[in-house]
Amino acid sequence: MRNQPHETIEDVRSDAIEKHHISLTINGTSYNLEVEPWTSVLDLLREHLNLTGTKKGCDHGQCGACTILLEGKRINSCLTLAIMHDGAEITTIEGLANNDGLHPVQQAFIEHDAFQCGYCTPGQICSTIGLIHEGKAKTLDDIRDLMSGNICRCGAYNNIVKVVQEALENHKNQTP
């Protein structure tokens, strides 16, 4: 019960804020961090590292706005704690473009107008890239299903699907 502290405040608090050392590679940069156990990866990015490209839409794993790539896999960064990922490699929306320009999926989002307000977009883009590497999506229905963890309240879904189809096609052509 949240209104009945299971321990004394002092106990909970000192546990919670005892900082632990972890190292992370985020978008190719290594970070040595002192993190509190109760800090989610999402809050670490947004509140502690000022990497606000990753969005918070619910903080409960219900919207996909916080999707990032952890070891290349798409995850909801609000649902996992930073201390669980010592040594991990993370890619966020800020890490997708390089000196040659935008990631093709980023460019395709612009061309297909696959967003409006843009708030779900970083999550949709990371999710698209994650989905391609999963190799599970074969049909239009698969794409729609496998992209349904990312809500877009602006309703850009049909344009997002076009991006995913295009990206899958390109991926197929590149990997014979």
Binding site: N3, I9, V12, R13, A16, I17, E36, W38, T39, D43, R46, E47, N50, L51, T52, G53, T54, K55, K56, G57, C58, D59, H60, Q62, C63, A65, T92, I93, E94, L96, L102, Q106, F109, I110, D113, F115, Q116, C117, G118, Y119, C120, I125, D141, R144, D145, M147, S148, G149, N150, I151, C152, R153, C154, G155, A156, Y157, N158, N159, I160, V161
Partner: protein, 747 residues
């Protein structure tokens, strides 16, 4: 490089920022020493706070302060000071004003701490004791307490009956009486409401707010906290969706401002997703329709009445019952609109407020009438087509609805429809087709803009409007660039900054028409100045030339008669020694001209659904819509606006329902797992056509607006398709599987 941009499917100018994560939203601005505020919400719907014990929470190291009604300094004395540009009649809610609880999840305290985690933890340690009073949140049981839905509010048209409904209804051959219901809905933009308030050394404030009107936020803060407007800067470059939720300043703005002023530190307050269900919703309506027609389908009498809900402290009104007179030719129309005051927060304009729900009931009833008359539903609409707003007795400034019906019906294949309900199957799916009309208001509001042309041919235009995903940045850029014959890359549009010239709230589908016109005008002014200067150049071909004699194209001023005669704009600047040209202008609607007409956008929507006969699962498989929205400024972003509207329609028809637990007086499904919003897998194939006709009455640039019209009519078309599939009429939204099951199996 071609410099005609208007109407083209241009990419969003802010796209790059949005796909790289560099677009910054209200909770994403940082400042040295920034601290975090977490709001505590009331657990009861009505009563008083007997005691609020913050002792334990304040003991925690890193917790800075807890604001409650007990320690909030005396603020503005009058209710009036809390009014904003979108307030309905009444006395606005005043956060932390007293111990009184007026609605469930009312903000009752703000915990401020060094980190978000700490503030959140400390908030759990605050103990609140309540004195509970009996609340009432049940609209359906309280209809006898209803009061007249009236009062002054921008855009609200009080109900007005015409002709003699009773007599005509009695005398008619074919009669239909029916009742529709829909649940409450919440906006749920993906970005939760947040404000970051920076306390400046001179006592001023810089506020990053999630809002559809930076000037509204500034006004609100200024009035409540007694700070001069010029000391407050409100900035909101990106808004992660709003759909109406940002039309009024929400309580996080109050909270963050209060804390920043008291603590003299930068404070950020971001609401949680459950708290997004605590400040305004699309109100439930219970609607009754009585339709009477002659056997050929001509409407003889229409009565549209609606009961809706509001708070105890404000009377929220919207246009629910005002649409029959605008959609159909009928001499006898009765309109009744009533409100019941309940123990809840005031409802809040939500995309196509009133229209989305009123037209849903009307167009569903029209479908019922069509079946009763044994008539094609499309034919019934055409039989009663009107070129005149029967209520105002004015013609429409433009109306291409007939063409919308034709185009959409043809694309959909409506002529192939088997009129018999429950006649079409595909495996164990029942297939149904339905259609509906849509209508929304087309308005231009006063707006100002400024522009600055630099010697290098770069142009900056600005207005204190918003881009909530609507594409405002992009259309401002297109209009400005085309007016001065510049490539879009040379133009920068500025908005979401209270130091920019006045614009009204971004809402009601008015922004393109209003701000677009102001941008056009201010760039015209610069063009005139350029031409005048060009005429002063030695041997100028443009000596004494008038604006009609030239065009601005490809970065040049060009002689209309002779393409080979031109002067580059940068040459004019250079030869005339001009560093910059700056202009400001106000675009006022031409009220005299506008008042002669009724001004609306229209749509025709056709839907196909497939319903599993065994399981009751409903899938919308196709939507075809044709839209009459005047001139389209950007084929790509306008298409996205309509697409979004249609998605909202699907979501409204099948999924959205803020479920009030009357025992607690609280919306109980207050998260995104329990409050269902259409996801990718729910999407049908969506086909959108614009039937364009420039409307220079609504706005000098021919625009009518695309923000809401895509949604209106969609839910009715889907509901009508469900009837056609199953032969059963489900008169309550959302049409969920359980309702469909009981109806389907009841056959």
């Amino acid at each position: 490089m071609a410099t005609n941009h208007i109407g083209k499917p241009k990419n969003r100018v802010d796209g790059l920022k949005k796909v790289t994560g560099s677009a910054k939203y209200a909770a994403e601005f940082n400042a040295p020493g920034l601290v975090h505020g977490v709001v505590i919400s009331s657990a009861i719907a009505k009563g008083r706070i007997k005691a609020i014990d913050t002792h334990d929470a304040l003991e925690i190291e890193g917790v800075l302060h807890i604001f409650t009604h007990e320690n909030t300094p005396g603020l503005a004395w009058f209710d009036l000071s809390y009014k904003d540009m979108d307030s309905p009649p009444g006395a606005p809610f005043r956060p932390l004003h007293s111990d009184e609880i007026q609605f469930n999840m009312q903000p009752i305290a703000l915990v401020v701490a060094e980190t978000l985690e700490l503030a959140r933890f400390a908030a759990l340690r605050v103990k609140v004791e309540y004195e509970v009073e009996t609340h009432n949140t049940k609209l359906a049981d309280s209809l006898d307490e209803a009061i007249e839905g009236k009062g002054f509010r921008a855009g609200f048209e009080p109900p007005k009956s015409i002709g003699k409904f009773e007599e005509a209804y009695e005398a008619a051959d074919i009669k239909l009486e029916t009742e529709y219901f829909h649940g409450a809905e919440h906006h749920n933009p993906m970005e939760m409401h947040a404000s970051t308030v920076i306390y400046e050394e001179d006592g001023g404030l810089t506020i990053y707010d999630k809002t559809q009107g930076v000037l509204n936020s500034r006004h609100y803060v200024s009035m409540i906290f007694g700070i001069k407007r010029k000391k407050i800067k409100v900035i909101s470059p990106f808004v992660g969706g709003a759909f109406g939720s940002g039309l009024r300043p929400q309580y996080q703005l109050f909270m963050a401002t209060l804390a920043a002023l008291e603590l003299k530190r930068p404070v950020k307050v971001e609401l949680t997703r459950p708290q997004m269900f605590s400040f305004g919703h699309r109100p439930i309506t219970i609607q009754k329709l009585k339709l009477a027609a002659s056997p050929d389908g001509s409407l003889q009498a229409v009565s549209h009445s609606a009961y809706s809900e509001t708070s105890r402290f404000e009377k929220y009104v919207e246009n629910v019952v005002n649409w029959p007179k605008k959609l159909y030719r009928c001499e006898n129309v009765e309109e009744i609109y009533k409100l019941v005051q309940l123990d809840m927060y005031t409802p809040l304009d939500m995309r196509a407020p009133g229209g989305a729900t009123g037209v849903y009931a009307l167009e569903s009833a029209m479908d019922e009438l069509a079946y009763k008359l044994n008539m094609n539903p499309l034919e019934l609409r055409l039989r009663n087509y009107t070129d005149e707003d029967k209520g105002k007795e004015k013609p429409f400034s433009s109306k291409t609805l007939k063409e919308c019906y034709r185009v959409a019906a043809e694309k959909f294949g409506w002529s192939q429809r088997n009129p018999e309900p429950r006649s079409t199957r595909e495996g164990h799916n029942l297939v149904g087709w339905g259609m509906a009309s849509g209508i929304w208001d087309a308005m231009q509001t006063p707006a100002r803009a400024k522009a600055r042309l630099s010697a290098d041919g770069k142009l900056e235009v600005g207005s204190a409007t918003a881009d909530i995903g609507t594409g405002t940045y992009t259309i401002m850029t297109q209009i400005a660039a085309e007016t001065l014959g510049l490539p879009m890359e040379q133009v920068t549009a500025k908005l979401g900054d209270s130091s920019l010239p006045f614009a009204f709230l971004e809402g009601g589908s008015t922004t393109a028409a209003s701000v677009g016109t102001a941008v056009k005008y201010v760039c015209d002014k610069i063009a005139r100045k350029l031409l005048k200067e060009a005429g002063k150049i030695d041997d100028s071909p443009f000596k004494g030339a008038k604006m009609e004699d030239v065009v601005f194209r490809d970065e040049n001023i060009v002689d209309k008669q002779d393409d080979s005669v031109f002067i580059p704009i940068t040459e004019v600047m250079k030869l005339r020694g001009l560093g910059t040209i700056q202009k400001k202008t106000t675009a006022l609607p031409n009220f005299l001209k506008q008042n002669k007409y009724s001004r609306n956008t229209h749509s025709a929507v056709f839907a196909e659904v497939k319903i599993d006969e065994d399981l009751g699962t409903i899938k919308v498989t196709r939507i075809v819509t044709a839209i009459d929205a005047g001139r389209i400024l950007n084929a790509k972003t306008a298409h996205s606006q309509i697409l979004g509207g249609v998605v909202w329609g699907v979501s409204m028809a099948l999924e959205e329902d803020s479920f009030m637990d009357h025992h607690y007086g609280r919306f109980i499904n207050h998260d995104l797992a329990e409050y269902h919003i259409a996801v990718n897998a729910d999407m049908p194939d969506i086909d959108i056509t614009f039937v364009e006709e420039e409307d220079h009455v609504v706005s000098p640039i021919g625009v009518k607006g695309v923000g809401e019209i895509g949604l209106v009519g969609v839910a009715a078309a889907i509901g009508n398709a469900v009837y056609h599939a199953t032969g059963k009429r489900i008169r309550s939204l959302p049409i969920t599987l359980d309702k469909a099951m009981s109806e389907v199996s009841a056959i």
